[in-house]
């Protein structure tokens, strides 16, 4: 027990970050599972985080209510954004969501209520490690169950071939928007948890590089099973600490190793690290994002 306490004293914040990043990666996984490449999930997390933080801090709303409100607002924004942008495919959807994310970041940077560039400071520290991992377990379970439900099969058929799915009578607009909105809700929820973790959130924590990181977690972990993104997030979040343990201290080398891992995974393990644990998982890559080239 003492050893465990000591471990937490040293690595507690790392453990929390792994949980948060895994939840965010799962939120993108939901969207990706319907074949929609979104770079907006970091912004949804920002919307959820700032909403919840402001409600708790300035309006004295109870923690759970403000977290719920943050998730809800992110979901509503996701729905309103999703309806027009989900007509776009592949890379174009990614760019549209990216533009949305940048606008959100700049707006947050310039508002008074969000604290501007200094960030929202003094949010009460309420989120616990148990809370994060309970949320991770529940969402992981729900997403794993979703995979073999009617909704899950619809997502998968849209991902494999949207035109064919539509021909089969699947309401693709409905399911794409559903996947996008669910992803936004989970991202907003995670953002709200994150806001109550470190006393402070800043606009930069929800920017383009974070959006790219979420995509990287999914790719490195694998996007065919729910534990892929969790695996990717855990490995890449812990990597700096692991490298520190092996004695590598210089910043550029760590960064290069990050890039190298991503490159090796995409070249040699197209279905991510999770495919190492899966029988026959190393076969044909998921037919994902192929739509653009076929149409062009």
């Amino acid at each position: 027990m003492a050893a465990l306490n000591q471990f937490f004293a040293i690595y507690g914040s790392l453990v929390n970050f792994i949980g948060i990043n895994a939840l965010l990666a799962l939120s993108l996984y939901l969207t990706l599972s319907a074949g929609q490449l979104s770079l907006g999930n970091a912004a949804f997390a920002g919307i959820g985080g700032y909403t919840a933080g402001i409600l708790t801090m300035k309006c004295g709303v109870p923690f759970l209510v403000s977290v719920a409100a943050g998730s809800l607002l992110a979901g509503v924004v996701g729905l309103v954004l999703g309806l027009p942008v989900l007509r776009l495919r592949g890379v174009f959807l990614a760019i549209a969501t990216l533009a949305f994310g940048e606008v959100v970041r700049i707006v947050v940077l310039n508002l008074d209520i969000t604290g501007g560039a200094q960030g929202l400071v003094g949010i009460p520290n309420i989120t616990t490690t148990w809370g994060i991992y309970l949320a991770l377990a529940v969402s992981g379970y729900a997403i794993a169950r979703l995979r073999y439900s009617r909704v899950g099969w619809c997502f998968e058929s849209i991902r494999e071939d949207e035109t064919a799915a539509e021909t089969m009578g699947i309401n693709t607009t409905y399911y794409k928007t559903l996947a996008f909105t669910l992803g936004a809700v989970l991202a907003g929820f995670t953002g709200a948890l994150y806001a109550h973790l470190n006393y402070i959130i800043t606009p930069g924590e929800f920017g383009f590089s974070v959006a790219l990181d979420l995509l990287i977690y999914n790719i490195v972990g694998g996007i065919r099973v729910w534990y892929g993104p969790v695996l990717g997030a855990a490995l890449l979040t812990a990597l700096p600490e692991i490298l520190r343990g092996t004695g590598l201290t210089a910043g550029p080398i760590r960064m290069a190793i990050n890039g190298l891992i991503l490159l090796l995974v995409i070249l040699f393990l197209p279905n991510g690290l999770a495919s190492l644990f899966e029988r026959g998982g190393r076969g044909k890559p998921t037919a994902f994002g192929a739509a653009v080239s076929e149409e062009a």
Binding site: V91, I95, V292
Partner: protein, 296 residues
């Protein structure tokens, strides 16, 4: 009035650099339908290599410029060989190409960080002799004229090359349909590698001009232009060279006009990304784009 005119002139100069950057971006997209997110890292390396040649190598900028541009072209060849060529036969090559270009961007940026340090650096004084002309209340420096001259020269040369030269026509053939091009006896892989060479050389050239114009270079200077470059090629239409040039100029002008009208630089990028978002929703093929690129 003179202030507004001055702003317009400044917008024209920075817009020509954006255009040069975006031309390389859009060239690769036109040929491969892949978004090369490592383009911004090559842009950064271009500027830093030129600075190193001038500062440490003692070359004049007029020798360092072509040398650094050549180095960037070689980086483009490396990029193609490592990150794109191995993925070409995969069904998900658009998506996996995007990811491997992110990986290469991280590796290039860490190289820039490792080789040149994290500091913001400048070209030594007297790298270029600057005259200042004053005309009707507007200040124009000889450096600005040289930058816009070089940018226009390179863009005109590229357009002529694509329209007239045999290799340029081959690039257009591959962009149109690589299978047919192969049947017609065009060495498709060689042409794609060559496209990367040109694209990265232009990206590097943009980096050098950008560094000279603002007289400040840092390993992360690619971040801001990466998103702007995306906005420019969407605005102009993906794959369209004249679109990228006009988009770059329009983007440069919109930036300075936003600053001039609102009086602060806070909302500069927000306006640009809102425009990008609107263009994507209303006219997804861009202002000069080919219609077929993004239809469902």
């Amino acid at each position: 009035m003179a202030l507004l005119a001055q702003q317009l002139v400044n917008g024209l100069f920075i817009g020509s650099v954006y255009g040069l950057f975006a031309v390389g971006y859009t060239l690769v997209f036109g040929v491969l339908d892949i978004l090369n997110l490592a383009h911004a890292a090559v842009f950064t390396l271009g500027g830093l290599i030129a600075l190193w040649l001038v500062g440490t190598g003692g070359l004049s900028i007029w020798t360092a410029f072509p040398a650094a541009v050549l180095c960037c072209g070689v980086l483009g060849l490396i990029l193609d060989r490592i990150a794109f060529a191995p993925l070409r036969q995969r069904t998900d090559s658009n998506f996996s190409g995007l990811i491997s270009s992110i990986a290469m961007a991280i590796i290039f940026e860490s190289a820039a960080l490792g080789l040149f340090g994290a500091r913001t650096v400048r070209f030594p004084a007297h790298t270029v002799t600057v005259h200042i002309w004053r005309w009707a209340g507007i200040f124009i420096t000889s450096l600005q004229v040289e930058i816009v001259g070089i940018a226009i020269l390179l863009m005109v040369a590229l357009t002529q090359f694509l329209n007239r030269a045999r290799a340029g026509k081959a690039i257009r053939a591959v962009a149109e349909n690589d299978r047919t091009a192969r049947l017609l006896g065009i060495h498709v892989d060689g042409i794609i590698a060559f496209t990367f060479f040109i694209s990265s050389a232009l990206g590097g050239a943009a980096g050098i001009l950008f560094g000279l114009y603002f007289n400040s270079l840092s390993p992360d200077m690619g971040h801001s232009i990466e998103l702007k470059g995306l906005a420019v090629i969407i605005l102009g239409g993906m794959g369209s060279i004249p679109g990228a040039i006009l988009g770059g100029l329009a983007f440069g002008l919109s930036e300075v006009l936003t600053v001039a009208i609102t009086g602060t630089s806070n909302l500069r990028d927000a306006v640009a990304f809102t425009v990008l978002f609107t263009v994507l929703i209303l006219r997804p093929s861009g202002l000069l784009g080919r219609k077929k690129m993004r239809e469902a």
